[in-house]
């Protein structure tokens, strides 16, 4: 791996973000109806015509198309999409402030899913053909096909039936009475920094059910993937030779066989991490009432807020590209066979 590769990759990512912004602008312009009306959020009332006129000026709809696109892309790259209609604040800072909540959820979900998935996968690869193997694989297949939002509704039901209210990110009354205030925006981290154990437990408890729901898909995928990769690696020569040498069984498994399957696991984890962002967005607000990107999605829909939608498209795409690039780089560091 070289710096050259990283630079090339970053340049490529910027090019793709550029394309995505152009694409979303084309949706706005070429869909039926007046783009200025849509950009102004379908305004009604006495000041509607003024709002539409302002939107028309903002987009520069009287200019030729290439100029409009150039201006739009320039503005978005400068972090200037305009003020959100639903929130009356600049779009990008708003999205960043909510991204932390969703990221926190995702990270906890993967902290649950990845070790458990790898462990179950290894366990079932070692007992290939046995009853526990086929049971674990069946569970993995079912988990990988579970609708995340359905699992979320189930978990929500179970917890609310048992009398625990898990709506929202934090118990506001508790937070106020203990003097909790956000620093980084990741509440788990914040409460630890402030040494506020009560809030930490509260936040963690509210985080667990949505995280479990989001963890279901990667868990199922990783169980099956690790099993396939391990079963394959266990038959390779680099495992047979140490067996012949008489190396201890656990060393063979953990040091020789697992090492060969780790790159594949990293690749799929990275890929599904980027995609689980969507699962998290679907689940977190509609079911658990947490303020995150899902909340923004919902409000963009209800206020027909096109600026927020374009901000979301850009930020989610950047997130995906960053995660994928990092995955590739980590994979190249771990796996000597991959040359970038």
């Amino acid at each position: 791996m070289s710096i050259n590769y990283v630079v090339k990759r970053v340049f490529w990512c910027i090019l793709i973000v550029f394309g995505i912004i152009v694409f979303s602008y084309l949706i706005l312009i070429f869909s039926p109806g007046d783009p200025a009306v849509k950009w102004a959020g379908n305004p009604r009332g006495p000041y509607a015509s003024m709002a539409i006129e302002k939107a028309r000026e903002e987009l520069g709809l009287n200019d030729p198309l290439y100029l409009q696109i150039a201006r739009f892309v320039y503005n978005v790259f400068n972090g200037n999409i305009g003020d959100s209609i639903a929130y009356k604040q600049p779009v990008l800072p708003l999205i960043y402030s909510r991204l932390q909540s969703t990221l926190e959820l995702l990270v906890i979900a993967y902290v649950i899913a990845v070790p458990l998935g790898i462990f179950l996968g290894i366990y079932s690869a070692l007992r290939r053909g046995s009853r526990s193997d086929s049971l674990i694989q069946a569970v993995g297949t079912i988990l990988a096909n579970m609708p995340t939002f359905w699992v979320a509704t189930g978990l929500f039901l179970v917890f609310s039936m048992s009398g625990i209210s898990l709506y929202g990110r934090i118990n506001t009354r508790l937070a106020l009475s203990t003097g909790f205030h956000p620093i980084t925006g990741f509440y788990l981290l914040d409460s630890l920094i402030q040494g506020n154990l009560l809030v930490f437990i509260d936040v963690l408890l509210r985080l667990l059910p949505p995280a479990l729901a989001v963890a279901v898909y990667p868990l199922g995928v990783l169980i099956r993937l690790t099993r396939t990769l391990m079963a394959e690696a266990l038959l390779e020569d680099f495992v047979r030779v140490p067996v012949a040498w008489g190396v201890r069984r656990d060393i063979i498994i953990w040091r020789y066989a697992l090492k060969a399957s780790i790159p594949g696991v990293i690749q799929i984890s990275g890929l599904s991490f980027a995609y689980s962002l969507i699962d998290a967005m679907v689940v977190e607000y509609t079911v658990f009432g947490r303020e995150g990107l899902g909340n923004l999605l919902y409000d963009a829909l209800n206020y027909s807020d096109f600026r927020l939608a374009i901000g979301l498209i850009t930020v989610v795409a950047v997130f995906y590209l960053v995660v994928n690039t990092l995955t590739d780089i980590i994979q190249a560091l771990v796996d000597p066979r991959v040359r970038l």
Binding site: N145, M146, T148, F149, M281, S304
Partner: protein, 298 residues
């Protein structure tokens, strides 16, 4: 003619061989049952009008009845028979799956093969497009489409197609790239056969099988993603017979009437599982990494 016959015989052999596998049989049975239910839903459903979304006259009296002999799955908040709604939901689920997968498959195969065959600028441009659409999730595209053109099934379908074709294009490209380098394609090129014929006869035939298997496996995920788009309310309007929408309507009353969200979810899970069981057992046959001995599949 001969090779087509051989292909058909090969495919028939593959399917026959699959029938010995429990997983394949289960998957096929599930998909067949769901298809039959979807086709016959106007006949099977006890309350067809309610299944399509009409609100019955005694709605208040019938609202949120738990499962009982008349309404097997119970009724929803507006007194409609949940069983009928879920049955009609199977139809829209299959429509979504088929339209999305078939359209994106054809776009993806065409673009992937062209990217591999015509090198140079075309390859770069097409690869750029593939990468671009791989990186935007369908839900967000659906949001933009919804704001631009309003609610409807086409929001779900267009949003999903916009992103799914790029996956098929990418897979096709990867397979086709190695095939284009093979001697028989080079020879065909040297002998002056025109590009379309080479693509159709030599490149396409060998790329389509693995991509097709991928498409079967993906049908479940397409369904899950389509339903989750409907679940946040981006796609079809409320009261439509669609599993995601039924669950969305059941969400506010989940503690009082959990069956409204439960039954569509079970159907969703089983359908997705069926497609992925079929796809998995087909892929096991194709993927050299899953079996020890590698055999050409036709």
């Amino acid at each position: 003619m001969n090779s087509i016959e051989a292909n058909i015989r090969g495919a028939a052999y593959l399917v026959r061989k699959q029938f010995r596998k429990m997983r394949f049989k289960t998957g096929l049975a599930i998909v067949l049952v769901i298809t039959i239910l979807a086709l016959l839903s106007p006949i099977i459903a006890p309350f067809p009008e309610e299944g399509l979304g009409y609100i019955p006259e005694n709605a208040v009296a019938k609202a949120r009845l738990p499962p009982n002999p008349v309404n097997i799955f119970g009724t929803d908040t507006r007194g409609r028979d949940l069983f009928s709604r879920v049955l009609f939901g199977a139809g829209s689920a299959l429509v979504e799956i088929l339209i999305v997968v078939l359209t994106s498959l054809s776009i993806g195969i065409i673009i992937g093969v062209s990217a591999a065959y015509f090198k140079g600028v075309v390859e770069h441009v097409l690869n750029y497009l593939i990468e671009l659409f791989v990186s935007v999730p369908a839900i967000i595209i659906a949001l933009a489409l919804r704001l631009a053109i309003g609610p409807g099934l086409y929001v779900v379908i267009l949003g999903l197609i916009t992103t799914w074709w790029s996956w098929y294009a990418r897979i096709t490209y990867i397979y086709a790239r190695s095939i284009v380098e093979m001697d028989y394609v080079v020879l065909a090129r040297l002998s002056g056969l025109n590009s379309l014929k080479i693509i159709y006869r030599h490149v396409l035939r060998n790329t389509i099988p693995p991509v097709l298997v991928q498409a079967v496996t993906d049908m479940g995920s397409v369904l899950l993603e389509a339903t989750s788009i409907n679940f946040i309310g981006l796609g079809v309007p409320l009261n439509s017979p669609e599993w995601g929408v039924i669950m969305l309507e059941g969400l506010p009353v989940i503690t009082i009437a959990p069956w409204i969200t439960m039954f569509p979810g079970i159907f969703l899970l089983i359908t997705a599982l069926g497609f992925s069981l079929i796809g998995d057992s087909l892929r096991e046959e194709l993927d050299p990494r899953m079996r020890r001995r590698w055999r050409l599949w036709f």
